[in-house]
């Protein structure tokens, strides 16, 4: 099986980007954005995770089948999170009057 050789420059650049992401996460924690605190933290985490998966885990250079497998994991994560959240969103819509 052929291995894709990634230059060290790319690794260092991604490493730097991850450090910046960490600094941003810490910085954002000191600013009160109310409901958006969690949104911002998750957004930064998602970007960092994407970088790790794409470059450090070599998914950028992998076959389409591998990319499909990775995507499948996230689609399934979306299913559990979205449907569970739908429950919380719609629970209050119905009030039982005896």
């Amino acid at each position: 099986m052929s291995e894709h050789i990634v230059s060290k420059k790319v690794y260092y650049a991604i490493f730097a980007a991850l450090l910046i992401g960490t600094a941003l996460t810490i910085g954002a924690a000191f600013i009160n954005l109310h409901n958006f605190n969690i949104v911002v933290a998750l957004l930064i985490a998602a970007v960092k995770a994407t970088l790790v998966i794409y470059f450090f885990m070599h998914v950028k250079y992998a076959s389409r089948l591998t990319k499909l497998c990775v995507a499948l994991g996230f689609i399934w994560l979306f299913i559990i999170v979205s449907i569970t959240m739908t429950d919380y969103l719609t629970r209050g819509w119905f009030t039982y009057v005896p």
Partner: protein, 550 residues
């Protein structure tokens, strides 16, 4: 391709070369990388846990002989929890994939082994390691939460060994994941030349679909058990409302694994039934492609129905309606399978040997299990039936009537291939009939009990339910006798059974084109497949009779 008989090779003692005599002693078994030997290790392990789980089932039934129960309520809680945990995680989930799948999947696709033989062995060790934790939990006093570990009781209030059992389940989950990963990679990369996707036996399709479900769902079980442990140990509010958590979140996460787990248990058994029906009626499975695709459809839809376990929780009514609709929809691919198996029988050359009896038993019992599933998928009716014996009867018709019948049918069909010996046919048929009668006598009264309002997990009940409970206990006893007969004659046949020919059933499939038992490398020459699945014209008469052609 040459017949298996003509390819047979012999070792220096003049014995046929098989995977069983290639190496002796415990070391050769416990360090083996041969998928067939690992399958046998799994067989012994799951058979042991099945027996233990069965004994706990009998204890439940003995307790329910009298309205006031024979055990303390707390003891009874621990008994039914142990029964559930052992049967679900240590028997039903691994039984068909880890035993029959491990043994047959590489042979069915013409490969020498699975893609990752060492990981395959690791999966068995993880199973044993996880099982050890659970056994310790049981010996230390057991768990009293039910196999579903509902919070906040399990995370906050229970004084039993929740953590130990949780660790065991966490570990055994990884054993499943490794098996699933191995199957997926093997099917993608190691099929014999000419063996296209739509020439694969339906057992391979079923195990492939199961592996996808395992890979996508089991990590959620690990996460859920971990969160439960964090709340129990560190009192972080996740599921307990008293400290800011939500117990229904646990139910969402638990059933996101555990409902697909039902399909992990039954899909491989459905694959077995496809093989049984085709080979025992000597016909290609009617609508082969649709049956193959229905496995994948069940796998995907199975992920979208978990909320039907939460109808009477505080789950949103609107979401409940959607889950109800989706639960009805998942019945469609299951029905496709049942209809197509039945259509396959039409004008087939049917034999009523034990494997076929199990196959027919599966169809009847799974039909009842599936149809009563529609009852409990209906929101309004489920409000009445939730947590009653109706649900117990429903899922035992699916799990025992489905998965166990499939497992036993498969064991009988491939027993000659796995061991090189025939089992005694008359005993096997008798045992199957005894099990069938015992099973129905055990669980049919439970439908009535549940409808009348008998709740599950109660150690005592009003006296008017006693007659039905006695029927049920009598059935369980008959079922246990049937199982004991099967275990006895299978062990007996290992030494005394008639030697099997390469293809004693005249069946189609690559596993019947090698010797019984197969050599370590499965085939001496890599098969080149030029025929469709279930093409009985390629069956070699000499492999059926065991006599070399003139």
């Amino acid at each position: 391709m040459k017949s298996a008989i003509s390819q047979q090779r012999f070792n220096r003692d003049g014995e046929p070369q098989t995977y069983l005599n290639n190496g002796h002693g415990l070391r050769s078994w416990f360090l083996t990388k041969d998928h067939k030997r690992i399958a046998m290790l799994y067989l012994v392990s799951v058979a042991f846990f099945f027996a233990v789980g069965g004994i706990y089932a009998l204890l439940i039934r003995i307790n329910l002989l009298a309205p006031n129960g024979l055990f303390e309520s707390d003891t009874y809680n621990r008994i039914f929890t142990t029964h559930g945990i052992i049967m679900v995680f240590f028997f039903l989930v691994p039984a068909v994939p880890a035993v029959l799948g491990n043994f047959l999947l590489p042979i069915m696709i013409g490969a020498k082994d699975l893609a990752f033989p060492k990981i395959n062995l690791l999966s068995w060790y993880l199973y044993i390691f996880g099982a050890a934790f659970t056994v310790i939990a049981v010996i230390a006093g057991g768990v009293d939460t039910g196999w579903t570990f509902y919070t906040p009781y399990s995370s906050t209030y229970s004084n039993s060994n929740v953590l130990l059992a949780g660790v065991g389940i966490f570990i055994v989950g990884f054993s499943s994941i490794l098996t699933g990963l191995n199957f997926i990679v093997t099917v993608h990369t190691m099929r014999a030349p000419g063996l296209t996707w739509f020439r694969l036996p339906l057992f391979v399709w079923a195990n492939y679909a199961t592996s996808l479900v395992i890979m996508l769902s089991t990590p959620v079980l690990a996460i859920t058990v971990s969160l439960l442990a964090i709340e129990r140990v560190a009192h972080v509010g996740i599921f307990d409302p008293a400290i800011g958590g939500d117990p229904v979140l646990f139910q969402h996460m638990f059933w996101f694994y555990s409902h697909p787990a039902v399909y992990i248990m039954v899909l491989p058994a459905m694959g077995v039934i496809s093989e049984l029906i085709a080979n025992m009626s000597k016909k290609n499975v009617f609508g082969y492609k649709l049956v193959a695709m229905s496995s994948l459809a069940i796998g995907v839809f199975g992920f979208l129905v978990w909320g039907h376990h939460l109808f009477v929780s505080t789950q949103s009514v609107y979401l409940g309606i959607i889950f109800s609709f989706l639960s009805f929809a998942v019945a469609i691919p299951s029905a496709i399978k049942v209809f197509n198996w039945t259509a396959t029988l039409f004008k087939g050359s049917i034999s009523y040997d034990a494997p076929m009896l199990y196959g027919l038993g599966f169809i009847g019992l799974f039909l009842i299990g599936g149809m009563t599933g529609l009852f409990v998928a209906a929101v309004g009716l489920d409000v009445h039936l939730t947590d009653t014996y109706f649900v117990i009867a429903h899922f035992h018709y699916v799990m025992v009537g489905g998965s166990l019948m499939g497992f036993l049918g498969g064991m009988h069909l491939w027993w000659p291939k796995m061991t090189g010996r025939m089992y005694p046919e008359a005993w096997a048929r008798a045992a199957m009939v005894i099990q069938f009668v015992g099973f129905n006598l055990t669980f049919f009264p439970q439908f009535i009990l549940g409808y009348l309002g008998m709740p599950r997990r109660y150690a005592t009940y009003p006296p008017e339910f006693q007659v039905l409970h006695i029927f049920s206990t009598a059935g369980a006893t008959i079922l246990a006798i049937g199982m004991a007969i099967t275990i006895c004659y299978l062990i007996w046949s290992l030494k005394k059974g008639q030697r099997a020919t390469p293809n004693p059933w005249g069946a189609a499939g690559l596993e019947w084109m090698t010797t019984s038992p197969p050599p370590t490398e499965n085939f001496y020459e890599t098969p080149v497949v030029t025929w469709e699945a279930y093409d009985f014209t390629v069956v070699r008469p000499e492999d059926v009779t065991g006599m070399a052609a003139e």
